[in-house]
């Protein structure tokens, strides 16, 4: 019940993001999500593609340092406080969230939250026991 995400290391200089998006775009890869964590010297591009495996192969062959990470995905109603309720559960159990982002697909009235946590197995158990609906890759 986990969502696969690709992460790519990128130097913080002009032209790098273009190279990545162009490499994927010309092979017909469609992004579902994309975000960038940036520091002074480098960035990490994290994304989910419609076809993650193909995207991974393309980037590997193009020489990128790319890896696959499994995230916990949660679907919540698109309304105030929905995110806070999920985060509250994690906090009560003293679980650390390393990063998190969310997105809303058009024609849906739900929001999707993706997060990387320190202990994925424990977090899955906790959220399932609280009746939270977890996303699988297919649901995206």
């Amino acid at each position: 019940m986990l969502v696969k995400q690709l992460s790519v290391f990128m130097e913080n200089r002009p032209g790098r993001l273009y190279k990545l998006t162009h490499a994927l775009g010309q092979e017909g890869i469609d992004f579902v999500t994309l975000s960038i964590a940036d520091t002074k010297d480098f960035g990490i591009v994290r994304f989910i593609a419609r076809d993650n495996e193909k995207a991974y192969e393309i980037l590997k062959n193009a020489g990128f340092t790319v890896g696959i990470t499994e995230l916990i995905g949660v679907e919540v109603g698109d309304r105030p406080n929905a995110l806070a309720e999920v985060v509250a559960l994690m906090e009560e159990a003293n679980m650390n969230i390393e990063y998190l982002y969310s997105f809303v697909l058009t024609n849906h009235n739900t929001a999707k939250i993706l997060m990387r946590v320190e202990d994925t197995d424990r977090a899955v158990q906790l959220l399932e026991s609280k009746g939270i609906k977890l996303l699988s890759e297919k649901i995206l």
Partner: protein, 439 residues
């Protein structure tokens, strides 16, 4: 103040000999040294036997070229004390400098060797006008590195007040220099320039200083750097040369003519060789500097290849000395870098990097001089097979590289992680270092 110091000859009976007098003295001392190392130093006996040379074959300095060379690797192979000619009980001090693979190059000194070192350092400081009335501030590091203690011994031999400030803590250095009224400063030229630029920032005025000169070395420096240093500190700045294997600072030193450094030839015979063919070259040709120590007893070295490239010139100098002069060091015949006075080999950096998982062996070292200080940046590729998802994972790889490099070379370097494949692959001999400092 610039122009105030008086260069004087500390030991005219040795520094002003005629060529034939010097060669006679060198020949006597060389014969004695060759016999001594043959009888007391196993690696030398083996080497000379291999070359089928007996001490009796060496009758004068003109026979020097018959002897085999000594290289840093020989010293390392005998690590730590295998190159001693004297028994360990006679060794009173040990110094060491970095070697190519993290193993140190060790030098043992007998009391005689310390006296020789103090003597040549004193002659050197006399060229910078140090007398017993001077106050010499030594801001070279004290320790295994010979800079600090070498300047210290020389200043004390003259009888000057010696302030062993050692390296670091710039504000304290400036305060001591000003408040103690130092007349002379000894440190690396880049640090001296740095001190000069910090005076104003520290809210001080150069007019309140009593400095007139200094001996600056342990790293190559240019004539424009001298002008800058002299202007900032309002002093006469002279170049001091040395290497621990031969003795330490004072092997050669510039006089006030400022056009080359006098080699203390009655202790160290200089030669210039072609680093490819190893043939001796005549005066005036550029090549690799080679030294033979002829008065040391702890660890004398025969035809030691310094890897420093320069030229030698003979003849009487306007200062009155007749000793051979060496030009500024123009480069190296190996890939050693001198960064902030510290000897660094790219192979040490490579060895350090190999200890860290998450990076590839593809790297490039950039050396720059920024605000007169040497700065080293190492660009290194992240390993292609790691999962680069957490910022903290990547930063900890960077931190590990920093720590490893620092522990291998004793210097901090800025580490930049690069995408895999981004560092240029060279065809043939790998280019690992780009030194962008002025030569």
């Amino acid at each position: 103040m610039k122009g105030k110091l008086k260069d004087y000859i500390y030991r005219p009976e040795y520094e002003c000999l005629s060529r034939s007098e010097m060669e006679n003295l060198q020949s006597e001392r060389l014969k004695k040294t060759v016999k001594y190392v043959y009888e007391n130093c196993k690696p030398y006996r083996a080497k000379m036997d291999e070359f089928k040379i007996k001490p009796s074959d060496i009758k004068s300095v003109s026979d020097l070229c018959k002897l085999p060379f000594t290289v840093k690797h020989d010293l390392r192979a005998a690590y730590p004390f295998g190159f001693y000619s004297a028994p360990s009980s006679e060794i009173v001090e040990v110094h060491a400098s970095s070697g190519t693979t993290g193993k140190l190059t060790v030098v043992g000194y007998t009391q005689n060797d310390i006296d020789v070192w103090a003597e040549v350092a004193a002659r050197s400081l006399a060229m910078a006008g140090v007398t017993k009335d001077s106050l010499v501030h030594v801001a070279y590091g004290y320790g295994l590195f010979t800079g600090g203690l070498g300047a210290h011994y020389g200043a004390q031999k003259i009888g000057a007040s010696t302030v062993p400030a050692s390296a670091g803590n710039t504000i304290r250095q400036l305060t001591l220099l000003r408040d103690f009224g130092a007349t002379h400063l000894c440190c690396t030229p880049s640090y001296a320039i740095f001190l000069g630029t910090e005076i104003q920032k520290a809210g001080m005025d150069i007019k309140d200083f009593n400095l007139m000169g200094g001996a600056f070395g342990a790293e190559p420096w240019t004539y424009p750097m001298r002008e800058e240093l002299e202007r900032l500190l309002n002093i006469d700045a002279l170049d001091i040369y040395g290497l621990s294997e031969i003795s330490g600072p004072g092997v050669a030193m510039e006089c006030m003519q400022k056009n080359g450094s006098h080699v203390q030839e009655d202790h160290f015979i200089p030669e210039i060789i072609d680093p490819e063919t190893l043939e001796p070259l005549p005066f005036g040709s550029e090549g690799e500097l080679v030294f033979t120590t002829i008065t040391k007893t702890g660890q004398p070295l025969i035809r030691y290849r310094t890897r420093d490239l320069c030229t030698l010139t003979g003849g009487k100098c306007a200062c009155g000395r007749t000793t051979v002069k060496m030009s500024k060091v123009k480069g190296r015949s190996d890939d050693m870098l001198i960064i902030r006075g510290v000897n660094v080999f790219p192979s040490q950096i490579e060895a350090a990097i190999m200890n860290v998982s998450g990076v590839s062996p593809h790297y490039m070292i950039y050396v720059d001089r920024i605000n007169n200080l040497d700065v080293m940046e190492i660009d290194i590729e992240l390993a292609g097979n790691m999962t680069p998802d957490r910022v903290s994972d990547i930063e900890s790889i960077k931190k590990k590289v920093e720590t490893e490099v620092n522990s291998y070379i004793g210097l901090s370097a800025k580490i930049k992680l690069c995408e895999s494949g981004s560092i240029q692959r060279s065809e043939g001999k790998a280019v690992r270092v780009i030194d962008r400092r002025d030569k």
